[in-house]
Symmetry: C2
Subunit: 421 residues, 2 copies
């Protein structure tokens, strides 16, 4: 009997040769991740366990990105606490301000998440690494602590839903639109504690950036993971990024899926998720009202990669951000920052009246650097639009692609790229 991707990866990391949904396994993990919100709790829990050392100082990544550069004294104390922990345990992958970026952007970028690997992270969007054919999944701080001590974690093998994306994308339709459309179709609990496998020609044709955007949002459908088979594009992406060996664990051809969902992507319009759930999606063609916005956010672990900034810059080129809108760009890492700058994208942004931030999670989770007041609306390339997510409980967030966020920034209301030409 064949296995799905998640079954194969879990089996390869445990003593079992074969696994099926519902099995409980204790699996080795290849990387344990935490950020400035979750790591302090994990460090406290780790200290209670009573071991002297972490399981492997090269297989723990700590990224202060949510409230960094330090938003306030509390953030400063939290980061300082985990910094001391990282130094004590000589953790090699502690990313300080100036070297840092958004966790889910820098880990793939630095070759720390490889096909066939298991990465658990005390952050819900750890599922991003599914785009590289890895099992990335979010855990609590206590699991992070246990894994830092033991290098292992307990998993209940989830059933897998296979998504087959057929056909060719329309212009300006991206990975973000595909995943928003998918969440709109199955709902925010449509894949609850299930693995999602994204397959089909539209996925084959997607860039690594587009794939990472899709996997990143698997959790927004409740997914345990959002996996994409490693292929030539994956190999190409990894070139020069890693010295570690890895084994690709794509699904067997006779793998058993709980469900197979086919989607004809050629019919999909640019998507917008209305407040206050990512499942409240509409195609741009279905929006009949003029929804004025006061902020446009382009960046985050979902859409803060070079391709995302290129798309935004293409639309903002020679244009001006509407006088009623603050448009903020958050490159996902120092590397993305430098590349975007050197490609001339920042010139376009600055000329258009965009504020470019140093890499940080910023306002995505209501952290800092662009919080909304009561009654304000934002269009955002981030991943969640829950009530108060980006500020006041009386503010609202609409999720979309960089293309739509950029076009909306210019128009002052939610608009597609076609409208700004």
């Amino acid at each position: 009997m064949g296995m799905t991707m998640i079954e194969k990866i879990l089996a390869a990391h445990s003593v079992q040769d074969e696994l099926k949904p519902g099995d409980i396994v204790n699996a080795r993990v290849d990387m344990v991740l935490g950020n400035d919100i979750t790591t302090p709790v994990a460090v406290e829990e780790f200290n209670k366990i009573g071991v002297d050392r972490v399981f492997d100082k090269e297989r723990i990544a700590i990224v202060p990105d949510h409230f960094a550069p330090n938003k306030d004294i509390k953030a400063a104390e939290q980061v300082n606490m985990i910094r001391k922990f990282a130094r004590k345990h000589e953790i090699t992958n502690f990313f300080e301000v100036g070297q840092m970026g958004i966790e889910h952007v820098i880990l793939p970028e630095k070759g720390l998440t490889l096909p066939g690997e298991i990465i658990i992270g005390a952050d819900s969007h750890t599922c991003t690494y599914g785009a590289l054919g890895a099992l990335g999944t979010g855990v609590g701080s206590t699991d992070m602590a246990a894994a830092m001590a033991t290098g292992k974690a307990w998993f209940k093998v989830p059933p897998t839903i296979k998504f087959v994306y057929k056909g060719e994308l329309k212009p300006h339709v991206s990975g973000k639109d595909l995943i928003l459309y998918t969440i709109g179709k199955i709902g925010v609990d449509g894949a609850l504690y299930k693995a999602m496998e994204f397959t089909g020609e539209a996925i084959d044709n997607l860039s690594m950036e587009g794939r990472m955007t899709m996997s990143n949002m698997a959790i927004e459908a409740g997914g345990k993971a959002g996996l994409i088979a490693a292929d030539e594009k994956t190999e190409e992406y990894l070139k020069g990024r890693t010295q570690r060996d890895y084994t690709v664990r794509n699904a067997d051809s006779d793998a058993e899926y709980e469900q197979v969902i086919e989607i004809d992507v050629s019919q999909i319009e640019p998507q917008v998720a209305f407040p206050s759930l990512p499942e409240n999606t509409k195609g741009l063609d279905e929006i009949n009202e003029k929804i004025e916005i006061q902020q446009s956010v382009i960046g985050s672990c979902t859409n803060g990669r070079i391709e995302d900034l290129r798309v935004a810059a293409e639309i903002l080129k020679g244009q001006k951000v509407n006088g009623n809108v603050r448009c903020l760009v958050f490159p996902g890492s120092q590397a993305v920052y430098k590349q975007a700058m050197n490609e001339g994208l920042f010139d376009i942004f600055i000329d258009a009246g965009v504020a470019v931030s140093t890499p940080t999670c910023g306002p995505c989770l209501g952290g800092h650097m662009g919080i909304l007041a009561e009654g304000e609306k934002a269009i955002s390339t981030t991943n969640r639009n829950f009530v108060g997510r980006m500020g006041s409980p009386g503010s609202e967030v609409y999720l979309a692609s960089p293309a739509v966020a950029a076009a909306s920034a210019i128009k002052g209301y939610i608009a597609g790229p076609e409208e700004v030409k």
Copy 2:
């Protein structure tokens, strides 16, 4: 009897032809300034006055820069309140995120502060405009409110201390070092409610950026203003920046000064102001201990101009920020940001491991984007090092020039540019 700069400027804006220290005048103001901290209070006071309109919609400047891009919900609400006020009164100089910068960087940059003018601002570093031969001075929010309504403000004419800076500066000694040295000499109340006039060949030879740094910190000696005569450099700086007419009001040759202080600048070393007062200055040659730092801040209304970033980049070129240090650069405006980027300075910064922020006051006043934890020390090009200024009351700030801040970032302890070659 001749008059000092401040006497001449005040006289030209009042009904009196001649003024002497101690006189009380009601003077026209050319520009009224507020930021996101002070303007909300001023707006509330303005609304109590009961006038319908502001005195001149083109002569009010509102710059949300302290907690912007919005740090939190409170900041968002404050900025939104003053944004609505600015729209209602059609205030032309409301600087939104994306067009904005630090108030005292953008106002001169946009030609809104001219020689001979009076600019009152609800921010203590409004004295910056003295560098352009203007009377810039900080006021409270209530005075800002009254001035928005009437276009006038009450002044008690202060006595003037004339500073004469003779000789030639050593390499890597800047306007920042001159003003720190001066404050060290006279103390933080050395010019309390007095005007300071900065004169002499060393001032003549200073760039406009260096002059703005000096005038900016007049308030740190208690000064009502820090004035520098307008000259060819001023005219050159203003070219293309303004359409408004202005009249230069430099001091009369027979002006009467309360005191004249001569300083031989050729003996001045790069200065560092130790915690927790700007007067606690030492030359680098007087520092015998190794003072380790955890943060280096380059920017602010004091040192966030293009020359400042050039100096920092020159020192950071090909170097790496010490692993124990976060180094943060805050360009003072979008224009400075773009120019620095296009000159290749950001490439140098990123390669060195510096985080470059969007323009904001950031951590200078403990706002956001680089707050210190207990026990942490920062070297900073900002203007105040009071207890807790940049974060925890248990943190410490050392003030210095961009050259010293950059060199210290590389070494990990307070060091001069000579030490990093």
